[in-house]
């Protein structure tokens, strides 16, 4: 008994630093932000209190609602497109590429991940710009007469996002595919299943948890990102993080920025609940 108590005390001692850190620098600031979201501005001063005005505004003010809708649309498009593009790539690497080259193929597929994050969006700006590589090439080939308007649009934002998340998802989906025992596939084929049936009834169900976990991560990272829409979107529409940064950086309205952040947090929570059946965050 004393041994167990001793062990417990030791356990608490070991887990405490991490808990204290997470509490002090994550939970506490989050609660402070929630408290601040119920304050309001009078002129330039923050008036503390319990005032749901910021939330009312977040869901009734057309500008805010539109930012919310934009964010959701962009995020859903990005998540869907990224999964659809990454799955075949991961599958080809896992099943077509000879085993000894797979690691290399995978490493190559995620190599651009190692350019700086800010720089990656900037690079897309160069690719998609009026005088960028794509337009110049298409013009030179005579495929278009006028440069296409791609930078400063939603298309650019989505492209920048998809690029990043295809890399991320290829990695996570590959990790799942490679764990499938070849025996399952062989057994299914022996039982007379066609390629599509094997995929539909064996491969897909077995890899679904991995895909959903990856999709969830994509959703979280995408909806909370400021840089990509800011650099590539050209201020032609606002996403929720851009709106938060505007309220904070220009208007100095921290209560409203906090309320919008809580809304953002709420959306992520909903997404988590929707996919919780499959998401295993401790197995990422």
């Amino acid at each position: 008994m004393t041994l167990e108590r001793q062990e417990r005390r030791l356990g608490w001692g070991l887990v405490a630093p991490a808990l204290v850190w997470t509490g002090a620098f994550f939970a506490l600031p989050f609660l402070a932000m929630v408290a601040l979201s119920f304050a309001h501005m009078e002129g330039r001063t923050v008036v503390r209190g319990f005032d749901a005005g910021n939330y009312v505004r977040a869901f009734t003010d057309w500008t805010m609602v539109k930012a919310l809708v934009n964010s959701l649309e962009i995020t859903l498009i990005v998540t869907a497109v990224s999964v659809l593009l990454a799955y075949p790539l991961a599958a080809i690497i896992a099943f077509r590429v000879p085993a000894r080259w797979q690691r290399l193929a995978l490493l190559m597929a995620v190599l651009p991940f190692w350019t700086s994050y800010v720089v990656r969006s900037y690079a897309w700006l160069l690719v998609l710009g009026q005088k960028g590589v794509v337009n110049t090439t298409l013009l030179a080939l005579g495929l278009i007469a006028e440069p296409l308007q791609m930078a400063s649009t939603r298309f650019a934002t989505v492209t920048g996002f998809v690029h990043f998340f295809v890399m991320l998802l290829t990695l996570t989906i590959y990790a799942n595919l490679i764990q499938l025992s070849p025996n399952y596939l062989r057994a299914a084929a022996d039982l007379g299943a066609g390629r599509w049936q094997v995929f539909r009834h064996v491969v897909l169900p077995l890899t679904l948890p991995g895909v959903v976990t990856g999709a969830f991560l994509t959703f979280v990272l995408c909806i909370g990102d400021y840089i990509t829409p800011q650099i590539l979107g050209g201020n032609t529409e606002l996403t929720l993080p851009q709106l938060i940064m505007l309220q904070m950086g220009r208007s100095g309205n921290f209560p409203l920025a906090s309320a919008l952040s809580v809304v953002l947090m709420g959306i992520v929570t909903l997404a988590y609940l929707a996919s919780a059946r499959w998401v295993r965050l401790d197995r990422v």
Partner: protein, 255 residues
């Protein structure tokens, strides 16, 4: 079908490498704008970048913040994982949830929360405040990786060490940590990557000493310039060299 696969792969790789290729190619642009036409080969932007005092300082800051915050996150995560995997503690599910939670929260929200608290406590923004934020985002990662890696094999070795009279810190330092060397290294380098590349926390929680992504951001705001391409290319070159070296040394050996 097979041909189609290879075609798909080729197109996918083209898409993945297009921005990087453009980035690197136009870092050698002799002209003032990093867009076609290519006006000739020049290294002058590299010269400019390597001679930029602020940029080099930012590089140093990024390195420092990444290494220190990752080391701390790894220590905290490893100890917590050890405790929760080995000792039966009441409320352990709750604790695990709390430790993992920051992973599901946007960095922007973490940054805003910290800004609020630091502001009201009168704590001056600095590289330390950024570091604190980076520990928050990397702790769940380190914890999750360590927790997942703790198997029964280590448990018996640890018990044997304890039975032989080793103190708990000796068990941790001489038995558990070496046995988990590969996942610990993976967790550390992943953390370093995330911290190194993180923008929004570093942007909101710094004052004068900034990290590399923030410095690149302000370069970007001063217009399109091949100098930004040069910085991006240099960062890419260094990181890729590190990744390949790690891949060859650490992870290959660990297999």
């Amino acid at each position: 079908m097979r041909a189609l696969s290879w075609l798909y792969m080729a197109v996918a790789y083209l898409f993945i490498f297009l921005p990087v290729a453009v980035l690197v190619a136009f870092s050698f642009q002799a002209g003032r704008l990093p867009v076609p036409p290519f006006q000739g080969f020049s290294l002058r932007w590299y010269e400019k970048v390597l001679g930029d005092r602020d940029l080099m300082a930012a590089l140093g800051h990024s390195f420092l913040v990444a290494v220190v915050s990752s080391a701390l996150a790894l220590c905290l995560g490893f100890l917590a994982a050890h405790a929760l995997a080995r000792v039966r503690l009441p409320g352990s599910v709750l604790m695990r949830g709390l430790l993992i939670a920051p992973m599901t929260v946007s960095y922007l929200i973490i940054a805003l929360g910290l800004l609020t608290v630091f502001g009201s406590l009168g704590i001056r923004l600095s590289l330390w405040t950024v570091g604190a934020g980076h520990v928050v985002i990397n702790l769940p990662l380190c914890f999750a990786i360590c927790y997942a890696a703790m198997g029964d094999q280590q448990r018996s070795a640890e018990r044997a060490a304890r039975d032989l009279g080793a103190a708990e810190w000796q068990v941790l330092a001489y038995v558990s940590a070496p046995m988990l060397a590969a996942p610990l290294a993976a967790a550390f380098f992943l953390s370093v990557t995330f911290s190194w590349d993180e923008f929004i926390i570093a942007f909101l929680l710094t004052r004068f000493d900034v990290t590399l992504p923030v410095e690149i951001w302000s370069m970007l705001r001063s217009g399109l310039s091949p100098a930004t391409n040069a910085v991006g290319s240099l960062v890419f070159l260094v990181s890729v060299t590190l990744v390949v070296a790690l891949e060859m040394l650490v992870f290959r050996r660990a297999k």
